[in-house]
């Protein structure tokens, strides 16, 4: 329904999108015992690390092959080899996630060949899983890199299994970059309440939620375990959360015959209803009383807040998956989407029930967002909100001028209420300030 446009210009001003390698590294960080390794110059890793540390307020394990001018000319095999050996020796990871960058993709390093030869030379690496993902930053965005890494993970790690061995309660959950660690935590709780055992890939709720461990760790202290990843082939069902997870779900269907369903949004009454119904169908459990009660709370909250949402014009600058779920939630409250700017192509964009979607930057957003009542975007949109004198609700990555990004939850009935109250309060504040002003 929406017309998707890409402004024709040579300069991008105030980029909205983040890079593919950053997204790939983020996905890898949801696995336990992991250290992601970027094959590029040391700056590629440093930049990604700064963004992730500032957003999550966590120590982020992230390493580099430290390509130099000379190794770029000669080829990066030696650097990849040396980096892997150093990491294994120093950090003792259980798994390494290797992502490429624009530099090494431009050069054309044959990564699969490298790994094969490195493994031949070093039999001691036989037991060390190394998941490779192609993630040049001259293509796609964070969401694409994240999805590509999840695809590599489910392609390479699960072991062959017979469908007859399928575990009747185990399901795989693929959670896209639109979901925060807090979201994943809520999803796990909901799924578990139906008597199901979820294996979440990647499980950011354990690694980037923000919690104290007893000792220092140079690798991720928690996340999806390798044992669980190996057993994904025995799952009964795959729940792909976010359209960008469809590819990974299809890989599991093809390899193991596991059926899947894609849930584009888990925010909003109907979206959560649909999700819980699906869980009830899969598990054979009826919906737990706890959620029936939360549903009544949400209905009440919707009634309380609908005055403030109705006919408000909201402008969104978000990655496609998050744009989709946020737009659907707002539309379900009677809000209008005034402008929608996103980062990368997605089959969702044309289907959005809005007039147009722009694949662009925050310069485009600033022009399109004029006269809206609320902006939703990452911390980079704060300057625009200030210039346009429009309130801002922060979503996406990076958010560095707010604390608590790891624990924030917007899914399920509870998360939907949180969003209703947060955004409702912003609208209410505007109205009240008018009352006081007169």
């Amino acid at each position: 329904m929406a017309i998707v446009t890409t402004p024709q210009k040579s300069v991008v001003v105030n980029p909205l999108k983040q890079s593919q390698p950053l997204g790939a590294a983020l996905a890898f960080l949801g696995l336990k015992g992991m250290i992601p390794l970027m094959h590029g110059s040391q700056g590629c890793t440093a930049f990604a690390k700064v963004v992730l540390v500032r957003h999550f307020r966590e120590a982020i394990p992230l390493s580099t092959t430290a390509m130099t001018e000379v190794s770029t000319i000669l080829g990066g095999e030696e650097n990849v080899e040396q980096a892997i050996l150093t990491l294994v020796q120093k950090s003792k990871p259980e798994i390494i996630g290797l992502c490429t960058t624009g530099l090494t993709e431009t050069r054309g390093d044959d990564m699969e060949g490298f790994l094969k030869e490195i493994r031949q030379r070093h039999p001691e690496l036989d037991e060390m899983p190394i998941v490779l993902v192609s993630s040049p930053d001259f293509k796609g965005s964070l969401q694409d890199g994240f999805a590509a890494a999840v695809e590599s993970i489910v392609r390479e790690l699960p072991q062959k299994s017979d469908r007859r061995d399928a575990c009747p309660t185990q399901i795989t959950i693929l959670a896209s970059s639109a979901f925060t660690p807090g979201d994943v935590q809520e999803i796990k709780e909901i799924v578990t309440a139906f008597g199901l055992k979820p294996i979440v890939v990647p499980d950011l709720s354990a690694s980037l939620d923000g919690h104290l461990e007893d000792s220092y760790s140079a690798i991720t202290a928690s996340g999806t375990t390798l044992t669980d990843l190996r057993q994904i082939g025995s799952s009964l069902f795959t729940l792909a959360l976010g359209e960008s997870m469809r590819g990974a779900a299809q890989i599991l269907e093809k390899q193991f015959g596991i059926p899947y369903e894609v849930f584009g949004e888990l925010t909003g009454l109907e979206a959560v209803d649909k999700f819980l119904q699906a869980l009830a169908d899969i598990s054979g459990h009826s919906v737990p009383e706890k959620y029936r009660y939360q549903r009544r709370q949400l209905q009440d909250a919707m009634l309380d807040t609908h005055f403030y949402f109705g006919c408000k014009r909201v402008s969104l600058a978000l990655e496609p998956d998050l744009l989709w779920s946020t737009a659907y939630f707002l539309l379900s409250m009677g809000t209008q989407i005034h402008a929608a700017v996103t980062t990368t192509r997605s089959p969702l964009l044309e289907q959005l029930p809005v007039k147009s979607v722009t694949i662009g930057d925050l310069e485009d957003f600033e022009q399109l967002a004029v006269e809206s009542d609320l902006l939703i975007g990452n911390s980079h949109t704060a300057a625009i909100a200030k210039r346009l004198k429009i309130p801002l609700y922060r979503q996406g990555i990076p958010i560095f001028d707010r604390v608590g990004n790891g624990q924030f939850n917007k899914v399920g009935y509870r998360g939907t209420m949180q969003l209703l109250f947060d955004i409702g309060n912003l609208f209410l504040e505007q109205e009240e300030s008018l009352v006081i002003g007169h």
């Binding site: 300069v11 991008v12 980029p15 110059s41 440093a46 092959t65 150093t86 120093k90 930053d137």
Partner: protein
Amino acid sequence: MKITQGKINELLTEPGCEHNHQKHGEKKNKSCAQQPKPGAAQGGCAFDGAMIALVPITDAAHLVHGPIACSGTWGSRGSLSSGPMLYKTGFTTDMDENDVIFGGEKKLYKAILEVEERYKPTAVFVYSTCVTALIGDDLEAVCKAAAKKINIPVVPVNTPGFVGSKNLGNRLGGEALLEYVVGTAEPEFTTPYDINLIGEYNIAGEMWNVLSLLEKLGIRVLAKITGDARYNEICHAHRAKLNVMICSKALLNMARKMEERYSIPYIEESFYGIEDINRCLRNIAAKLGDPDLLHRTEKLIAEENAALDIALAPYRARLKGKRVVLYTGGVKSWSIISAAKDLGIEVVATSARKSTEEDKARIKRLLGKDGIVLEQESPKEILRIVKETQADMLIAGGRNQYTALKARIPFLDINQERHHPYAGYAGMVEMARELYEALYSPVWEQVRKPAPWEVTIDEDSYSPISPLSPLPQEVR
């Protein structure tokens, strides 16, 4: 600026840099020419370094010619502006696959023109990156053609990340200023008291703490290189009487070459710690060689020191005897020790990475015989040393913030991402307050205490939380 191996070698063996003194053969300039180690390297690339050095020029547009990851941190560098905000706008050619295959020169040319048309910058700095260097885009030629077309300076900054470290990038940024900016315009007037500040990036606005002191003395900062700078003032830099290098070896090449070309002498100073600020002001006055100025300087120092003593007294009482581990690099490894000592804090260990022999000698003198000198250490090793020395706190760059916090150790950030200005006399009070806040926060007691159900013996050990008491003196 053509980047050649010769140019890089010249910068890495900078004769003004003490790293390159008294060493011969292979050992020479070890720390400058060090190659980053795969799997172990931490830190930014040369491109990052050049951006750090040049982005604080506030009225210029800073255009990155490369794919999107190179613009990953746009708009969030810590240097502040007193006026134009254009430097906070992120410009990039956002190279896509087609550009990589067919070359990005045309796109870059158009991009420069679009930036000029829509944002009217005083000048445009164009940064190359690994990818655009690899595909062979001719940055200099494109910038030259664009400058001719739009009639404003377009400065090529040829520092792809893979040529080296952040430090090398700083130097290359300085080279770009020397080659394209310094000396290209004349100031309206000059005074005998004109100086340049080099290597001060106005992180968290801390340069303003010092500028106000210089103003009181009648010293004019002709060019700030580059904190809160306007493009034109850097064009005038060649008319200064003195270059003052601040806490940095990184732009030494610039100071030395300006001495060669324009006969401007330079001094190396620090703005951190009472003794160092005092010395800095004295040295500037002495170099400018005006007896009356010297007299006024002494008077200002006496006044500021007296006021500072009063402001710091309540903090000193509480900070005295506290033990800290300092993990930073270069000049800061001793300049911060001196600031800590002023507050009565004992530095039990510090790092000497990136430090020169002269820095190291100073460290030894300041640290005393029991002090530990660290080199490049892993976070794990830093934690071990904090524990071993029974230190109360870690002072380091933002990268190690969570190393400390996760281990329940108080932390103070002293690098470029921080939000608090520590330079000058006012900065000392700010630093003292931050140290006090961090060390005496009631959270430490709470996060270190086991849960009641984890306690097996010693039931009586419960103690009420002591809240952070406000201090009487507040001098801003």
